[in-house]
Symmetry: C2
Subunit: 311 residues, 2 copies
Amino acid sequence: MTAAFDLNRWMALQLDAVERALDCWVNVDASADLDHHAPAELMAAMRYAVLDGGKRLRPLLVLAAYEAVSAGQGDGRGAQAALRAACAVELIHAYSLVHDDMPCMDNDVLRRGKPTVHVQFGQASALLAGDALQALAFELLTPEPAVMPDAQQARLCRLLSRAAGCTGMAGGQAIDLASVGLQLTESQLRQMHRLKTGALLQASVMMGATCSQTTALATAALQEFGAAIGLAFQVVDDILDVTADSATLGKTAGKDADCDKPTYVSLMGLDQATAYANELLAQALAALARSGLADVDALQALAVMVVQRSH
Amino acid sequence: MTAAFDLNRWMALQLDAVERALDCWVNVDASADLDHHAPAELMAAMRYAVLDGGKRLRPLLVLAAYEAVSAGQGDGRGAQAALRAACAVELIHAYSLVHDDMPCMDNDVLRRGKPTVHVQFGQASALLAGDALQALAFELLTPEPAVMPDAQQARLCRLLSRAAGCTGMAGGQAIDLASVGLQLTESQLRQMHRLKTGALLQASVMMGATCSQTTALATAALQEFGAAIGLAFQVVDDILDVTADSATLGKTAGKDADCDKPTYVSLMGLDQATAYANELLAQALAALARSGLADVDALQALAVMVVQRSH
């Protein structure tokens, strides 16, 4: 990382754009060009789930990857596509949290320091809001062709659907569900997390990269980068679940241990889990160094942040 | 309809293709080219939700519309795209039934004569299976570009995401949820059903049409056709809910009235609801006649079937 790069300043700029875009797109008025408006009560639950909370790590990865690949030479259309991709990934993440918190799943009442969606709006509305957020993610990626080239729309939908579905996030959650109380090997635990959290984090990087031209070398390096930080994120999550308190996390701490869920900490202990997170960070940074990309400051800094975060 | 057209024979041919495609695509092995397999337990719930049941009305509409627009001149790629679109729409429909049947929604235990997914697999698996089916719909629409042109992929995702989301099916379900026990006007009831059922039925027609070249005139006529049969379908559903028994329906009859849900029958009485269904059928057939399309036998026959069905 060059000494000159200021992650906080970069993040503030990007987050401002992301928050404004989400506020605009997850909105009754956003559908004013269609015959139908979204019902106000459903939209209220969707907005509650998405706005005013969250680290926005996935959108930041999309935008950082776009910046790396476009090397500051991105045009307005590419930047616009990257912003849509950033918001689409966040909508998938947000819907997964809504459904994950429901009584039939994790039965969590606190999320980002607020009551969870089903506590606030009821279970039926939470279920529908999650479903509608997933659809909205694909709506964001498929505007009229004048806004984004068809090939880009298709590529982004391809990456996102695979990362979200049965061979990605939903698949990982199913493995998670089936493994409560079981003793998993490290390889099984890694496979679960590669799907559950890793697929969408990696897709964030690849979706950002696909909004501009890039080389096969850079694409392969970014795949590796995304896989490493995707896994690192989960290892750190497991560490924080035992070392942080609920107020810092903004969700119920100690939950995984209480539920007898297999974690990296339960598998390898706190010290070794921490060492593993740092090893994954080193892998991610090495992949970036091999990418041939120049403007990787933001990606580097985000990777460091993922491993060194306190919540 | 020409005397020569045999709907049963046409349907048998199309259904054979649809069932085989669904069996192939909703399958652990379908993801063999990816790094990850879908977990077997999740896939079992997804297959249970999709296979071996259902009238497949939406896929049939996709294929009939493709046939009308391609006028028997469709090439292998167009037909393949239409088959993917047909299956994608069915996956969206199937996921909506899984979530709709859950205890926090309609709490239904019987569907297509079988225990509902959450009864068979548990609520958490039903929730995840529904989520994964929605993602899989968009996976089906976004194969590698060699399989389907990018522009077609983008158009199909655009149509499907809007029909499924907050300004379509999910939005209609939210209105439905909010209107239990309320007295709706006919206009409010129509708006609810246009979103809840109509949007996806209309999208089926438009997705089939978009798999081949067509005229603006035909597109507008098919929009009208799709809107009319979409609404007719729901009016007939409301009629059957009070006139048919559970065995014939394959689901719990009398459910809407029991739940004090507004229906066309409760609003206008049985006779007037029946007359309205026939009027919508006439509108649909008139739109087809104006379309300038030659091969509309299947679309015509499906419209008649929608209104005259007994389950």
